[in-house]
Subunit: 434 residues, 2 copies
């Protein structure tokens, strides 16, 4: 039975988070927003996807979705599934629109929203949550979904097939583990820069009591403030829990090394985005310095604004990262994420997906679970970021227990917002913005 995508609708949805200081860090202070896509079909099934933005400018990614929509409207799910790379390239390598990236920024984020909506549709038609839909795909279909263009010097289709075939071994056992325990995660809700010390202490204590044993704080303010806040968190969580730090690109390379020389005192587990997201060589230098400073206890993490698979490829080739933080919708959706998960596996670097924002937790839980079941095949060092914001706007929100994600079980990519939330927060005409 053929399913034709008959409509592409896009909504500009914004939540007024800036005023509360949630999501404030060294670089960003935004109204968490989504460029939200709904695909209609002639078979009743729908697909939804989105890309996350930070408030102002969400209308630009919406415009980019409209510019790309003609590559999606009128296509059948069957022909997309039969030639997934051809479909992906129709968006990512459009002969006119590619100039606006290429494969980065607004145009690539819009690609991600549309591509994810198509995958959501496919998983819903199959009646499976996305993680299961992906984990049960034959190796050749997964490999055929990946555009190896510009990454064959690091990962070939044969490499990918070997990893995915090997990933079948023990899959049922790993699934049982997840069904029993859930997926490990960490929380970022304790240490935003906008929060006063008392709030940081109270949130840390609450998170620890709730079962979290890994917490992330923002750094990149005055170094003395960063250190004071870090000591508060460390004193609350004791020596064994993990404390991660996120600088959101605020430092130059040498500043990052200087800062980490001081912050090493509180035994950080990783330093995230220590410098500009495009600076592969800079991250590599920082990684070597941090490794030396901490005797290998601290690693460099990045990825939430890494533009595409070519950037991730190089971060791995240069040994610049010890943790890879894929984002579900900054890159070109599920197809490109598959390439990134396989690159990470090839280089032996654990993936800890970036979440928070709007709906990112909902998205990436599927990717992390698939990674564990079929690609990385180990839990060592793997955690999903968790931020306790805005889940109430989703039809199938994440569920956690004792600091772990429970397996989502409804069909699709968990990307569907409540119609009432869309109506309330649609910009600029929703009641929340009037």
């Amino acid at each position: 039975m053929s399913v034709t995508i008959t409509s592409v609708e896009v909504h500009d949805v914004r939540f007024p988070t800036a005023a509360r200081g949630d999501g404030s860090d060294a670089i960003n202070r935004g109204d968490y927003s989504a460029t939200y896509v709904e695909l209609g079909t002639d078979a009743g099934a729908v697909g939804t996807g989105f890309t996350f933005t930070n408030g102002r400018g969400n209308e630009i990614t919406c415009a980019a979705v409209r510019a790309l929509a003609h590559h999606v409207e009128g296509r059948t799910v069957e022909e997309i599934a039969a030639e997934p790379v051809a479909f992906w390239r129709s968006l990512s390598a459009d002969v006119q629109l590619r100039w606006l990236g290429p494969e980065k920024g607004v145009i690539h984020m819009a690609t991600g929203a549309l591509v994810n909506a198509v995958w959501d549709l496919r998983a819903r038609i199959a009646g499976k949550p996305m993680w299961r839909f992906l984990a049960e795909l034959p190796t050749d279909e997964l490999v055929a979904s990946i555009d190896f263009k510009h990454i064959t010097d690091a990962l070939t289709p044969d490499d990918a097939a070997a990893i995915l075939d090997k990933g079948r071994d023990g899959l049922a056992d790993r699934l049982s583990t997840l069904e029993r325990d859930g997926f490990p995660s960490y929380t970022t809700s304790v240490g935003w820069l906008g929060y006063p010390d008392d709030k940081v202490r109270a949130l840390t204590r609450q998170a620890y009591d709730d079962g979290w044993r890994a917490m992330k704080m923002k750094v990149g303010g005055p170094l003395a403030d960063d250190l004071r806040r870090a000591r508060i968190i460390r004193s609350e969580i004791g020596p064994d829990a993990l404390l991660m730090m996120d600088a959101n690109q605020v430092w130059d390379v040498d500043e990052a090394i200087t800062a980490m020389t001081a912050l090493a005192e509180v035994d950080p587990y990783w330093i995230e985005e220590p410098t500009h997201a495009d600076d592969i060589l800079g991250h590599a230098r920082i990684a070597r310095a941090v490794d030396e400073l901490t005797g290998g206890r601290c690693r460099v993490a990045t990825g939430e604004v890494a533009a595409n698979r070519v950037i991730f490829k190089q971060l791995l080739q240069a040994e610049a990262i010890g943790v890879m933080q894929i984002d579900a919708c900054r890159v070109g959706g599920v197809n490109e994420v598959l390439a990134e998960l396989l690159l990470a596996a090839k280089f032996g670097v654990p993936v800890c997906p970036h979440a928070g924002g709007v709906g990112l937790c909902e998205y990436v839980q599927h990717l992390a679970i698939f990674d564990y079941l079929r690609v990385g095949a180990a839990l060592d060092g793997r955690m999903i970021e968790y931020v306790d914001h805005l889940h109430e706007h989703f039809v199938d929100p994440v569920r956690t227990r004792g600091g772990r994600y429970l397996l989502p079980d409804r069909p699709g990519y968990s990307a569907t917002m409540n119609p009432s939330s869309i109506a309330e927060f649609r910009f600029p005409d929703g009641p929340a913005w009037r």
Copy 2:
């Protein structure tokens, strides 16, 4: 006398070039377009700037200009000139819009259009062409115009000041040389992929007769076709003229090395964009291979889609390029170009700006001239790209003689379009598009 910017207007201007095959290469086939910005002031003076796009999606960069315009409207030229980095960061590091890049793609191209319009306004108020306005700025004002954030590991303010101070020596002599001879250039009009062999031969012969001694062809089609076309051009221009090749990112790293092993036969002077624009490590590998293949005669060139100064910094640090091809409006306008010119000088790599498209020749002539007068201070290996398209739409079009650019002498950045062209080609309501 204070000048306040009172209005920011943006026009979506598109020229229907796709149908003719002009501008066709291995990746792009577009309707050359401009996101065109006009700044009005309370003093009568105006400023114009634009960013170049490839047709579809020009409405997206227009939307991005509108999202950024509030950082420009209401500012005085004096306060911008007094704190140029603060102004630049108000656009490039807007706490909400930065997420859409950061510093790349649509949002950064829009920044470039606005920033260039402000520089055009400043030069016009000073009554000088942009190259002269920049060349005559005191060193400290130039240094104060550069955001060194994220590049201090390669170029410090002191490094920049030393280069710019040294650039005063002999400046008058270099200016006399340019006034007498013009600025060297090369032509890209002979070998677009869309052209048949006969047209390539005829255009090559014509260009040679017109005085050009450096020509660029597109490669990245079937290798046999590339080689056949290259032989045609080489046979027409003889062994001494320069033949450059441009692959527009179509190859993977190993494919690039294989292709250049064959194409080395025609003694290419550079291979441009051999692989994905973000692949610094890949370019470095190709550069080493090409150097070995050609005994150092051929170098790697890139830059037209390099997103920002951090990418250029790394291309230089990794010794990945022997020619740096800055673009005037993909990066964040004059301020960021200054950083890039100084990085190139620090690393001893010549700058050959990317031109063509709409108005890029008009823009970059000023940058190349300033580079020669005050930064690089030598002509060795320096050429401006020349493409003979669409100049008729500009009020102050480039002028060439015998394959060299003549010095522009009207105040400003030569970025102003004829009102009749804007009216005719405005999308979608201009007569050309109705």
